[in-house]
């Protein structure tokens, strides 16, 4: 048997909680690489946030060695994938590094939305799908029904699918057998020029950037000079190796079909773009892998420390995060309402949330973020053009000749009975219908062109809820289109709050303004005086709410002279105010700035 035919490169896809990480752990354990004691639960998900949310943010890989019943030794490379639309591109690159995917389905819950979305992605990358029914030990397990469901909904044979309990370690051997028998081995050209796909990279303080690759053709040899085909940067390889569970195992070279890593004293993670092709500088491949995209931030937010004195801490923390996150962008910003902070660019809302959570958790920062914005193009009367990512910088309307907003092509794959509801959603969001294709009798692909600013708030959440979770969603920026945009300002007690300004399509301004005013009314505590909250375009007020004046705030008597308690109550009241932001003579709680991010949730 030749070398490559003993390799299988695969990933595991599953709905959240269907047992992806547990199965991965079990495979690692069964392959005998880790003893029981070394086995840390869920080896693949390294970050705290990943464990808590049960999602994988960064892709990771692990190499297993498995001795089959006929005594052949196989190398199984398991590549973990992130699971959210913000990271669709990263997922697609991880999938592109594999020949097959193990599909884990919960025996009690059956096929669920995320399962479908991920299966569709895998099918697009022409991967072999190996279904595995997990949690067969649950009392509610109904494996026969689930098998039928897989065949009906996904359209792949499932009668012989392994029935396992990853938790109880039942029938794990069968998963290995199916992977080996059903997934094709790699078939790269060992003698050809080096061609390897980058599916992830991380920054290490000692080694520089560690680049995770799948070698398709040729071989990557230690000390050779490699070139990244997207930017033509060249580096001398310092170390190559494979990925043992939780450790790097150096090797002299990586051959066609193998998955591993290399380091090359690369200082900047931005140089090692996911999806890029690595080749040998002296004998380069003719062309790179298709599908490479430079991932640019799509959504911009102002991020401010709740405590102004933490500005430098925030900057240091962002610097550190950027070491490992090539798609994070930031530059200093100043707000009259929120003080010094940064305008940050993210891939999407989840990316923002993850960065924000890491800043708060790992760096102990308390943050306020402003409403998201995309990049608008403004053509001015003096024949100049500006790119606007911060609503506060919007020029006066009289200086603008025309405006353009970014448009995405959105592909939504969904069961056919939800088509009506989702088409309606796309219409509401100013979408332009492009086409609809039935992929199967019960499954369709819907294509719309949508303004990006209509999907950055909550589109994904609404899509999920209106399709009862079954729709998958992918989008890519296709260009700019002329648009009638206005800047909506919020005035609190007649003072404009710059951090709450945003750019919106003229047809949506009234509704958004009204919702923001309503939301702020709920968030701003009553003061001794009445506080008008107004949404305005230019000088025209389009919505107004009023926070009524406080009419009663008296304490009961201090029984038995308990004055200390009373003083503390007053101090607490005072302390609460200190944490608020002063807009004119109104104290605005930090939560108010955040609440307008989630306007449509009610």
């Amino acid at each position: 048997m030749d070398r490559q035919s003993r390799i299988r490169n695969f990933c595991i896809i599953a709905h959240i909680d269907h047992g992806k990480s547990t199965l991965a752990d079990r495979l690692i354990q069964k392959s005998g690489l880790l003893t029981e004691r070394e086995m840390q639960e869920q080896v693949l998900d390294n970050m705290d946030i990943e464990r808590e949310r049960g999602i994988t943010i960064k892709a990771q890989a692990v190499r297993l060695i498995y001795k089959s019943s006929d005594d052949e030794e196989y190398i199984l490379n398991l590549i973990d994938t992130p699971g959210h639309v913000d990271f669709n591109y990263e997922v697609s690159r991880s999938l592109a590094a594999c020949e097959g995917a193990v599909l884990v389905v919960d025996a009690a819950q059956g096929v669920e939305a995320q399962t479908l979305a991920n299966v569709y992605l895998a099918l697009e990358s022409s991967l072999e799908i190996v279904p595995v029914i997990n949690k067969i030990d649950l009392p509610a397990a109904d494996p026969d029904f689930v098998k039928k469901q897989i065949e009906d909904i996904i359209g792949i044979p499932a009668q012989d699918a392994p029935m396992v309990s990853a938790k109880a370690s039942v029938n794990i051997e069968q998963v290995f057998n199916s992977v080996i028998s059903d997934i094709k081995p790699p078939s790269g050209d060992e003698k050809g020029p080096l061609k390897a796909l980058i599916f992830d990279s991380v920054y290490d303080a000692y080694k520089g950037v560690i680049v995770f690759i799948r070698v398709f053709d040729g071989k990557l040899v230690n000390k050779s000079t490699v070139r990244f085909m997207s930017n033509n940067k060249q580096f001398e390889v310092v170390e190559t190796g494979v990925l043992g569970p939780g450790k790097f195992i150096p090797t002299e070279e990586l051959l066609a079909g193998e998955v591993g890593y290399f380091t090359a004293s690369i200082k900047n993670v931005q140089d090692t773009r996911i999806g890029d092709t690595v080749t040998e500088a002296g004998a380069p491949a003719v062309e790179p892998f298709p599908g490479y995209k430079k991932v640019n931030p799509m959504v911009y937010f102002g991020v401010f420390p709740a405590d102004g004195s933490k500005y430098n801490d925030l900057r240091d923390a962002l610097d550190k995060l950027k070491l490992n996150d090539a798609s994070l962008f930031f530059e200093p910003e100043t707000s009259a309402a929120l003080g010094f902070g940064f305008r940050c660019g993210f891939l999407g809302l989840l990316h923002l949330e993850i960065v924000q959570e890491r800043l708060e958790r790992e760096y102990n920062l308390d943050l306020i973020t402003t409403a998201p914005s995309v990049i608008y193009k403004m053509y001015l009367t003096d024949n100049t053009q500006i790119e606007l990512s911060n609503p506060s910088d919007m020029p006066d309307v009289t200086r603008i000749t025309n405006m353009e907003e970014p448009i995405v092509r959105a592909e939504i794959i969904l069961p056919s009975d939800h088509i009506g509801a989702i088409m309606e959603l796309c219409q509401e969001r100013r979408g332009e219908y492009i086409e609809m294709v039935y992929l199967e009798e019960t499954r369709a692909r819907l294509v719309y062109e949508l303004p990006l600013n209509e999907i950055i708030y909550d589109f994904f959440d609404v899509l999920k809820s209106r399709s009862r979770g079954y729709a998958s969603f992918d989008y890519e920026l296709i260009g700019y289109k002329e648009s009638e945009l206005v800047k909506l300002d919020i005035l609190v007690n007649h003072e404009m709050v710059d951090a709450l300004s945003f750019v919106v399509h003229k047809s949506k301004a009234y509704e958004r303004g009204r919702k923001m005013a309503e939301k702020l009314k709920k968030e701003i505590p009553r003061h001794l005086f009445e506080i008008p909250i107004q949404a305005s375009i230019g000088n025209k007020v389009i919505a107004r709410e009023t926070v009524s004046a406080m009419r009663k705030d008296v304490l009961a008597k201090c029984y038995g002279g308990d004055i200390s308690r009373k003083r503390k109550l007053l101090e607490k009241q005072k302390e609460g105010k200190k944490r608020m932001r002063q807009i004119g003579n109104v104290e605005v709680p930090q939560a108010a700035f955040m609440s307008v991010l989630k306007l449509d949730e009610e």
Binding site: L528, R551, D553, V554, G560, G561, I563, S564, Q573, K577
Partner: protein, 372 residues
């Protein structure tokens, strides 16, 4: 010789009212004797009392009048080992229906010269909602007995903004109580305290309370009505006929010294505030009952001087602040105070500042502005 007030806490009740979150118990009656012994011991060992003249004694609760008269006598006699001013105010809280003429007569003989009745409302319907043990008629009987027993200085505690209470209900109560001729009336709006039975009802939405505007109307109608009947609103929630302001309350509001005895009682002596445990059995058993003490910083003393002083209609004497703290009032609170004056929440008349009518019902907000 310095003067102080003495507070004694009796944590027993016949039944816990639904709005009550004070440290009082309806289920610990069998420990009454033990409690009195411990309390008497606590008072007996308070040697510092001999450095003071006692100008006021207040026995509060709970329901002090659910104790045997002998127990009250034991406590008072312990206090009387120290110097008590001739005209000292000696108040005992009483719940209607827990006392009779004989009991009241004996109280009078023990030296009590002021009664504080917890009536809360003259409407039997509302008394029932509050979970009170008595009716309005029970109160009338007790009030009558008190007069007969020789009490002429009587406070009646009232509450407004009660669940299901209308402005007319409230005015009816005010009318009845003022017609009786009580010398002092306290009127507090109901506050839903976390520990009270009302709190869970309120959270479930089963307690419908008058709105803020109605609450305000009730407050101000009490002010105008009782003022027409010869009472003066001398503190945010307290009314008195001329000469009958509560001396004991004014000790707190004037930041004077007081010594508290009994479960959870607070003391303020020598610029130190401290309090006993609120744990009933710890109080009975532990030698050291003090669980909290703080020495007030100058800043804290200033804050208390302000927020307690401003509760009184007469407000704060600007010079007194200067003398007490060595810094002028406007030097410390300058802009904040000037703003509040210019916005009409505080007024400055001659040498004093007071809350205005506009400021009085949002006084907490005003006070918190004036913290350092």
């Amino acid at each position: 010789m310095n003067q102080l007030g003495v507070y004694v806490h009796i944590p027993f009740c016949i039944k816990k009212c639904l709005y009550c979150d004070f440290n009082s118990y309806a289920d610990k009656g069998r420990y009454k004797k033990e409690y009195i012994n411990v309390l008497a011991g606590e008072i007996g060992s308070a040697c510092f009392l001999s450095n003071y003249e006692i100008k006021s004694i207040f026995i509060g609760g709970g329901t002090p009048t659910c104790m045997d008269i002998g127990d009250i006598s034991t406590i008072l006699s312990k206090i009387k080992k120290h110097k008590i001013l001739e005209n000292a105010e000696i108040t005992i809280e009483a719940n209607p229906g827990t006392i009779d003429y004989i009991y009241l007569k004996e109280l009078r003989q023990l030296g009590a010269n002021r009664l504080s009745f917890g009536l809360q409302s003259a409407s039997d319907r509302l008394l029932k909602i509050l979970g009170r043990v008595h009716t309005y008629n029970d109160f009338l009987k007790s009030y009558d007995d008190a007069i007969k027993a020789g009490f002429e200085n009587i406070n009646v505690d009232l509450m407004f903004a009660l669940p299901g209470q209308s402005l007319a209900d409230w005015q009816d109560t005010l009318c009845k109580v003022s017609d009786l001729g009580a010398t002092h009336i306290s009127a507090y709006s109901l506050i839903i305290e976390d520990g009270a039975a009302f709190s869970s009802l309120y959270k479930k939405g089963e307690l419908i309370l008058p709105g803020e505007e109605e609450d305000r109307d009730m407050y101000f109608s009490a002010k105008y009505f009782l003022e027409s009947k010869g009472y003066k609103l001398y503190e945010i929630s307290n009314f008195a006929k001329k000469g009958y302001e509560s001396g004991h309350n004014k000790i707190y509001w004037n930041c004077e010294e007081y010594a508290g005895f009994g479960l959870g009682a607070h003391s303020y002596i020598n610029n130190k505030r401290y309090s006993n445990t609120e744990d009933f059995f710890k109080y009975l058993k532990d030698e050291n009952k003090i669980v909290f003490e703080e020495i007030l910083s100058q800043e804290e003393s200033m804050e208390e001087f302000i927020f307690l002083g401003l509760r009184m209609a007469c407000g704060i004497e600007i010079d007194k602040f200067g003398k007490k703290f060595g810094k002028g009032l406007f030097e410390v609170y300058g802009d904040k105070l000037i703003n509040l004056i210019s916005e009409g929440y505080i007024s400055k008349n001659g040498g004093r500042i007071q809350l205005t009518e506009k400021g009085v019902y949002v006084s907490n907000t005003i006070f918190s502005e004036l913290l350092c």
